[in-house]
Every structure is written in structure tokens, then in C-alpha cells.
Amino acid sequence: MTISWQKPLLFLLLLMPFMQLLFDVLMGNLIDPIEEITNPTGLWALRLLLLSLLITPLNKILPFSIIKYRRMIGVFSFFYACLHLGIFLIDQQFNPEFIAEDIIKRPYITIGFSTFIILFLLAITSTNKMVRWLGKRWKKLHKFIYLATILAVVHFYWQVKSIADIEPLIYTLIALILLSFRLNWSKMKKLVF
């Protein structure tokens, strides 16, 4: 039996943004490390979250199965979210007072932190053992990814410098399209008509 190369390759690809960032940090290329780490890690957490949402719809139209890659993508999204939160904690000097104050008083951080909590729960229940142990409850829990997606784009939009910025708009549109794939259109038709 040959060892397949696909998952290791995917692993390396997903690690690349981190490697680039690590390189920049070690080479002293960053002028404002807090900002220059917060932004890309947040973006990659969001991108991989959206990518993970693309797997199921894509799986329906492809002749081969890609479901097996979804978990790795999701966990990597959580990984980047951890780095993103980590930098925030460093910026707050790990001071619980500063952190609590920010989470309570700044809505976009409340939302960001809530998103992280959801991703955390999904990440720790992503193992095979957890899937078996949770049984039917697993699918119900993991539907929270849709809420996490909505919170993530709101978090992104809320911290933007100007409402004229198109970047968060693009991510929001992609998120809406991906979420719409998951809607049960036949069920909805029955409700409406």
C-alpha cells in the first residue's frame, strides 16, 4: 500500500503563509509587527474558513471525493485564528484586565472573540474519537461553522478603516454565496409556497 501524498502536500501548502510570516519576523522585515501579523493571520483564518465551506458543495459536483481534506483546512483556519488571537494577547501584554476590557467594550472584538470560541469548540471536536463519541450531536455542533462565518465577516468589516474599502465586501459576498449553497432550497420553497 502506497502512502498517499495529497494530505502531506495540502499540509505544507496550508503552512506556507505561516512560514512566510515567520521568515519576515526572523529577518526583521516587519516595521509594525503587531499590525503586520494581525492582518495576515486574520485573513488566512477567514480564507481557510471559507475554503472549508466550499468543500461540501464542490464535493457534489466532482467525480472524486474531497471531503477528507475538509478537517485539515478547518483546523488550519483555527491555527491562524490562534495566531491572530495570540498577537492580540501579546499586544494587551497578557493583562487580563486589558483583555476583558477590550472584549467587553469594543464590539468588533466581542464578535472576534465569540468567533474564536466557536472555532475552538469545532477544533477540539474535530478528532476521530470526538466524532465517534458525539455521534449525532457532532453534526449539530459543527453547523455552528455557519454562525462563525457570519461573525467572522462582521468582525472583519467592523475593524476596516473606511467603509469604502472593497476587501471586506468581497469576502462578505463570497461568504454569502457559500452559505447560500448550504441552504435547503426545497425545504424553503415548501415553507414559502
Partner: protein, 224 residues
């Protein structure tokens, strides 16, 4: 006298009446405008030097400057995009030459000046400053320029003048970021006369001994 097009003029006496200026990064200009995108990326391809001698001041002589690459690739210049790495990529559309400055308002000597004539009376100085941006980053930069106080003395604001205002270029073709409603354009900055007369305030025309890269605010920018 040759007619100067309205949109080439930097209105500098808003320079004497209100607040503003380009606090964004500086860049290389004169002689290199069309190649500045290139020049900004390639280390070592600095802009043209200055014909006249530059005196090295004592300001910041114990500070270690950031590299030219760092200074010319991390900039706050919303006219060329809101990302810090955007101006270096986008500022090549700026044409810093010819450049005209209009001085008007409550001052004795008003008029329109070609940049070269505007700067000519002053001795260029190199000053290394720790440059702090309002967006909470800083870099040590070896600026080449003249004290703003000296320039103000030339134009002699009257006792009625309370502020010095800087208004930058409004030109959406040269500065595509102005097509977006991110800020009100043209960007304005202002100082009280007292702030402007502070010995540290300067008008910079270069860095590292050469003319400013576009993304650093070519051909003239305020350092305050």
C-alpha cells in the same frame, strides 16, 4: 508668464491658514519619476542626488536609521492605497516634476513657485529623526530638507495668521487612491504658527542623500 494648471498647484497658504499636509511616507522624485516603481523595489537604486551640498546636522547622529528598503516600502499614503505596502507598488503614477507650490493667505510674500525656486534659498540639511506616524509605527529616517521655520520667515505670516495649512495635490489620475471616498480629498494638514516654528519641523526633499521616492511623499513633504 507661463500659466500654471490649477491641479498642479499645491496650495500652500492654506499653508498659512489651516491644517494639513502629507504626513505619509516620502519617496524619490526628481529625475526618477517614471522609474520610481522600479527604483522603490530595487535596493540601491536611489534617486538623483542633490546638486548642492548637504550639511549633516547633529540631529539623530546617535540613532541607527532603518534601511532605504524599509523606509521606501512601508508607507502611509492613502492617495496610493490604504495598505502599508500599497504606496510602494502604486506611487509610480505620481509626477513629482514639474511641481509648483502656491503660497497664499495672511503673509507678506504670496505667489506661485516652482519647487526648485522655492527651495533654492535654503541650505539643505540632513537630519535623522525617529519619525512617528499617527498610525502607531515609527522608523528612524535620515531626511534631507530645510527647517520649516526658515521657510516661514521668508514668507512672513502677518500677526493675523494663526495657522499654517498644507493642502496636497488633487489629481485622481496621478493619485488613484483619491478616487475612493476613504478620506476627504485633497488631504489637508495644519499647524499652529508656534508648532510650525518648532525647530524640529522641517520640509523634506530627500532621504539618504537623494531625492524622495514617490511613496515617501515626493517631491516635498512635511516632517513634524
Amino acid at each position: 508668464m507661463k500659466k500654471i494648471k490649477e491641479h498642479y498647484i499645491t496650495n500652500e497658504t492654506d499653508y498659512f491658514n489651516r491644517r494639513s499636509f502629507i504626513k505619509q511616507s516620502v519617496q524619490f522624485g526628481v529625475g526618477l519619476a517614471s522609474f520610481s516603481a522600479f527604483a522603490a523595489k530595487a535596493e540601491g537604486s536611489l534617486g538623483g542626488g542633490f546638486a548642492d551640498k548637504i550639511i549633516k546636522s547633529n540631529y539623530g547622529k546617535d540613532l541607527t536609521p532603518h534601511t532605504f528598503k524599509q523606509i521606501s516600502s512601508y508607507n502611509n499614503f492613502y492617495e496610493f492605497g490604504t495598505g502599508k505596502r500599497d504606496p510602494a507598488k502604486n506611487a509610480h503614477t505620481l509626477k513629482p516634476k514639474p511641481w509648483h507650490i502656491q503660497v497664499s493667505g495672511a503673509c507678506a510674500k504670496q505667489g506661485n513657485y516652482d519647487l526648485e525656486d522655492f527651495i533654492k534659498p535654503y541650505q539643505l540639511e540632513e537630519r535623522t529623526y525617529r519619525f512617528r506616524c499617527v498610525e502607531a509605527w515609527s522608523m528612524v529616517i535620515p531626511w534631507v530638507g530645510v527647517p520649516l521655520a526658515d521657510v516661514l520667515k521668508t514668507f512672513a505670516p502677518t500677526s493675523k495668521a494663526k495657522y499654517v495649512v498644507f493642502k496636497t495635490l488633487l489629481d485622481k489620475e496621478q493619485m488613484p487612491g483619491q478616487k475612493s471616498a476613504t478620506l476627504d480629498w485633497p488631504y489637508l494638514e495644519g499647524l499652529t504658527i508656534a508648532e510650525a516654528m518648532n525647530p524640529l519641523s522641517m520640509l523634506a526633499v530627500g532621504l539618504y542623500g537623494k531625492t524622495l521616492p514617490n511613496q515617501n511623499g515626493a517631491p516635498l513633504r512635511l516632517v513634524v
